[in-house]
Amino acid sequence: MATTRSWKKHAMLLAFVFPALLFYIAFTLAPAFGGIAYSLTDWNGLNPAYRIVGLANYIEAMNDRFFLKSLAFTAKFVLYMLVLQNALAILLAVLVEAMGRSKVWFRTIFFMPNMLSLIIGGFMWMFIFTRVFPYLADQTGWRLLDQSWIGDPRYSFFAILALSLWGGVGYLMVIYIAALQGVPQHLKEAAAMDGAGPLAIFRHVTLPMIYPALTIGVFLTLNASFKAFDAVYSLTGGGPGRATQVIALNIFEEAFSFSNRYGYASAKAMILFGIVVVITIIQLAIMKRREVQA
């Protein structure tokens, strides 16, 4: 009797979970394991036959000048995003929260770019960089604006950064605003009573209270920036040459544009996976420790 009931319970569980599991296995889990398997082969997508080549793809990737350059470029991009995006988002959140009725307006405006794809945003900024800025430079004589924002990698890095910040800051701002609203007013009032200025209150009362949100913000930025694709694709396409190529674009081109070397591209994709896993583990460890302290 007991066994039939437990059997029935398990059957019910499987019946409810089955559709979700089926799609998940077919389109997430299977491709993940498939990717690991293919990364050990010389599969090229065109030729149906392929051989197992062991770790050769990984070794080649570690010596691939363009792949290493894309890793370094991505790391630099991630670092800038991490600092600038979070700092800007916190600044905007604090200032917006301090406003009266205009609060809603500012929040609506700052979040708006998040609703748009960075492909759309990228084309709009392309217009700004290649048409509006040169025009403004011509009219005002402001030489700073008159750069090759898309064509020169020294400047296009900042063009990509500007586009990504434009598209991403509002999202984090919303999260920080939610956190700020959780800071009890009486704590700030007590600190003010004790003669603390606005900066001191922010540093010693507000900031510690929004640490959990900061962890989320850092995590989201890391995750999104390591996988950045749309902003670079729409603005520079990775060029000139491959000077602004990020990891995701390097993998994409290896697989689908230049060589169709699916096996080799899979190995690079697994390296990206490895990086994301390591970062997540570090992140979770830090989060756990914080929670214990708090």
Binding site: F16, L21, M112, M124
Partner: protein, 277 residues
Amino acid sequence: MNRLGGRLGSWTALLFLLAAAVVTLFPIYMALLNSVKTQGEMLTNILALPSSLEVGNYADAFRKINYFRSLWNTFVVVAVGLAGIILFASMAGYKLSRTPGKLSGFLFGLLVMSTLIPFHSIMITLVKISKELRLQGSAVGLGLLYIGLGVAVAVFLYHGFVKSVPKELDEAAVIDGCGEFRLFFTVILPLLLPITATIAILNTLWMWNDFLLPLLILTDYKSYTLLLSTNMLFGEYNNDWSAILASLVLAMLPVIALYLALQKYILHGIAEGAIKA
């Protein structure tokens, strides 16, 4: 003194926010403004209001990106994906949350594991699989892929939310002789509405704005979404800014309209989704 400092501070804050708002809106404003100018006027005066409304740009863009078909395709992708994610994830999340035990824990762990996997790590094999299943080149096919990619996070969110729904409801319904599936669809699912709204918002935004997967899957131009059509237009006529800007405005229109109509729910959903996931 302190009072004066405070007032000065709030003026600086306001000015800073205004400047930031101008920077934020500038590209959108520029696109809108120049989308109704002729190429010639765009060259001579990019900042000024247009001397006459060049509506022809929009007619041109409408045709070049096949607006209604692209919009419909985008809509189909999102509708198929969303229906699958909400239906399957709510069922799974509910049952996993209500059934303790090893099997349940294992299945839940299996699903949650995937949140770590970056899309780029699976895309190559995913394209191969979708080719073999003949999902390539079809908006419905793309929607089905999104179910598999999005269902895990949604299960996680439902799983957490179900804990707040009293168990007594299930028991009472079972005593009344209500079958498990009927219980779920008539009693439980309506109670999950708040988290369903959050999940719907997050997933709609993701699928609507996702670019890379459609680029890989929608190989037939007849199945192009708004983003793909716009991208194609940009590639083909990359100096014809009149048509490009008009098509960008057309592509933005549905999202911005939705945002302004539902922004309270959207902002709430975003904050909640980020904190829970």
